[in-house]
């Protein structure tokens, strides 16, 4: 097990930020912690990365306890925080070498590794400039490089794409996915971008008020909590009523339209249309809406993630 927590809890003065989280992450998984701001995602991540100690409960990361074996944990994880890992008055290449040294690499090896990362993250032109002169996207790529110097088996990213434009965000996601494909790195990231969690993670852990409220693949979360929506329009109310009787699914019937909630609408629709046509009530309009993770969150909490973000 790469990460295993039991009743992980963190209370600040009067805020119960994380309230008893049980997590199990296997090697090689790509997990997204999704939730609104203040849900406890970052606090959870900060406990797992040894930055803060839990109030109660326990966590083993890469096989070591996050309180009693901090150095062992730190040696095995990479952490890309919300800020800039590389110092603003330092040159990128120097920072990468120092970072390698911090993990016990020899200077020569650290230099080689720094050059590799500079190359693979497209930083060649800016690696010998100080951090303060870099653009936001360049800095973020340098931060990623900093987190990868020691080739950690487990990588944490806290809101990796916040503040990036859509193009840089896509770039970043591609880098993470490529890294994972190449090294089978376990990746845990927090995000409040729904599309990011949806497109990248195989497993989404929805966190709200310091608790895990759902934990599954994006597809299963949607199927289980929301389902696809098919809206059919008909020529008359009578047609709609007849059609409603033929549909073996959850149906809401309003005047000339039917709203059907179902799993796997694209596979179901051709057969359904044939059946309705055969019985003389062909629909005059069809709309299929596939759920987003926001719909899942709305269904689970009664609130939209977008409002909180």
């Amino acid at each position: 097990m790469m990460i295993e927590t039991r009743g992980l809890t963190k209370h600040f003065k009067d805020v119960r930020a994380v309230q008893g989280i049980d997590l199990a992450v296997e090697p090689g998984e790509l997990v997204a912690l999704l939730g609104p701001n203040g849900a406890g995602k970052s606090t959870t991540l900060r406990m797992l990365t040894t930055l803060i100690e839990p109030t109660s409960g326990s966590a083993a990361v890469a096989g070591f306890d996050v309180v009693r074996q901090q150095r062992e944990v730190r040696q095995r994880i990479g952490y890309i925080g919300q800020g800039n890992g590389a110092g603003h008055n330092q040159r990128g290449r120097d920072e990468l070498v120092s970072q390698g040294r911090a993990y016990g690499m020899r200077t020569r090896d650290a230099r080689v590794r720094a050059a590799e990362l500079i190359d693979s993250l497209g930083l060649a032109e800016v690696a010998d400039r100080t951090g303060s002169t870099l653009s936001g996207g360049q800095r973020r790529r340098l931060d990623i490089a900093m987190g990868l110097v020691h080739e950690p088996p487990l990588l944490f990213l806290d809101e990796p794409s916040t503040g990036l434009d859509p193009q840089n965000r896509t770039n970043l996601q591609e880098h993470i996915l490529r890294l994972r494909a190449a090294r089978d790195t376990t990746v845990v990231l927090t995000t409040h971008y729904l599309d990011e969690a949806d497109s990248m993670a195989e497993r989404v852990i929805v966190v709200d008020h310091g608790q895990v409220i759902a934990d599954d693949s994006p597809a299963r979360l949607k199927a289980k909590h929301v389902g696809d929506r098919i809206t059919l329009g008909f020529a008359s109310e009578a047609d709609a009523r007849t059609a409603a009787g033929r549909v073996p699914h959850r149906v809401e019937h309003t005047a000339t339209t039917l709203l059907i909630t179902v799993d796997g609408a694209p596979e179901l629709l051709p057969g359904l249309l044939d059946d309705l046509r055969l019985h003389g009530v062909p629909p005059t309009s069809i709309e299929v809406t596939r759920p987003t993770l926001d719909d899942v969150f709305l269904e689970l909490t009664g609130r939209s993630l977008r409002e909180g973000a």
Partner: protein, 247 residues
């Protein structure tokens, strides 16, 4: 896993690197000491060329005082941008994160002292080389301690950076004036002389003056060294504790 010494070396060389890449940045914290040297020294009553002999060692200490007390601002910035947090997640020991930084202070301070002396010699300043070397050791020790205190202050001000500059400025000038750095304390009122005796910097300044003059085997050397070691020990203790508590 790395050893404590390797950790300190890693931090030390990282912190020093920006200075080595751009050596002229050393001059930034020297502007005020150089202004005092240029515009204040000529105002001192000169009795037989002794004013410069008295004043230059004070300016050397002043420049160390400015540089070491400001050095925390760099950590403050890194705590706000995220690079300090990144270093807290590496296996580097918390103590090394502080000690490596504090030790690095010695390098710019020696460079500044050399520069000040080099500027003063053409105007008639004379110094004893072996005394000067010993003086630098005392000043270096003092600066490591003061630097460590400045880093502790930076960690305490992480979420309110006005605090850092307010405390730094508030402490700096009384410390400086009460050490007899610009004007002799001897002629001052009793309460001021009493206050100066509680200022460790007084002993450092006195030791530097005597040492630059060649009085190596003197009581001032011992008291100066003791004061510097005390500040160093205090600074490192407070600093390491602050760094360990930090998250």
């Amino acid at each position: 896993m790395t050893s404590a010494v390797t950790d300190i070396r890693t931090v030390f060389s990282r912190e020093l690197r920006p200075t080595l890449r751009q050596p002229f940045t050393i001059i930034i914290s020297m502007v005020q000491p150089l202004v005092f040297l240029g515009l204040f020294a000529p105002l001192l009553p000169d009795t037989g060329g002794s004013a410069l002999q008295w004043f230059v060692p004070g300016i050397v200490v002043m420049s160390a005082l400015f540089a070491a007390s400001m050095t925390g601002s760099n950590l403050l910035m890194e705590a706000q941008t995220g690079s300090h947090e990144r270093s807290l997640v590496t296996p580097l020991r918390r103590s090394a994160l502080l000690i490596g930084r504090a030790l690095k202070e010695v390098v710019p301070i020696f460079a500044q002292a050399t520069l000040i002396i080099a500027v003063s010699v053409p105007f008639g300043f004379r110094f004893d080389p072996s005394g000067a070397v010993l003086g630098m050791l005392i000043l270096g020790t003092f600066s490591v301690g003061l630097g460590a205190l400045s880093y502790s202050l930076a960690l305490a001000s992480k979420n309110q950076d006005w605090l850092f500059w307010t405390v730094q400025q508030t402490v700096l000038f009384p410390l400086l004036l009460l050490a007899g750095m610009l004007l002799p304390i001897d002629g001052g009122p009793g309460w001021l002389r009493a206050a100066a005796r509680f200022n460790p910097l007084t002993y450092v300044v006195d030791a530097e003056r005597a040492l630059f003059d060649g009085e190596v085997w003197a009581a001032t050397t011992v008291t100066g060294a003791l004061a510097a070691v005390a500040v160093c020990a205090l600074g490192l203790t407070v600093g390491v504790r602050a760094m360990r508590r930090d998250a």
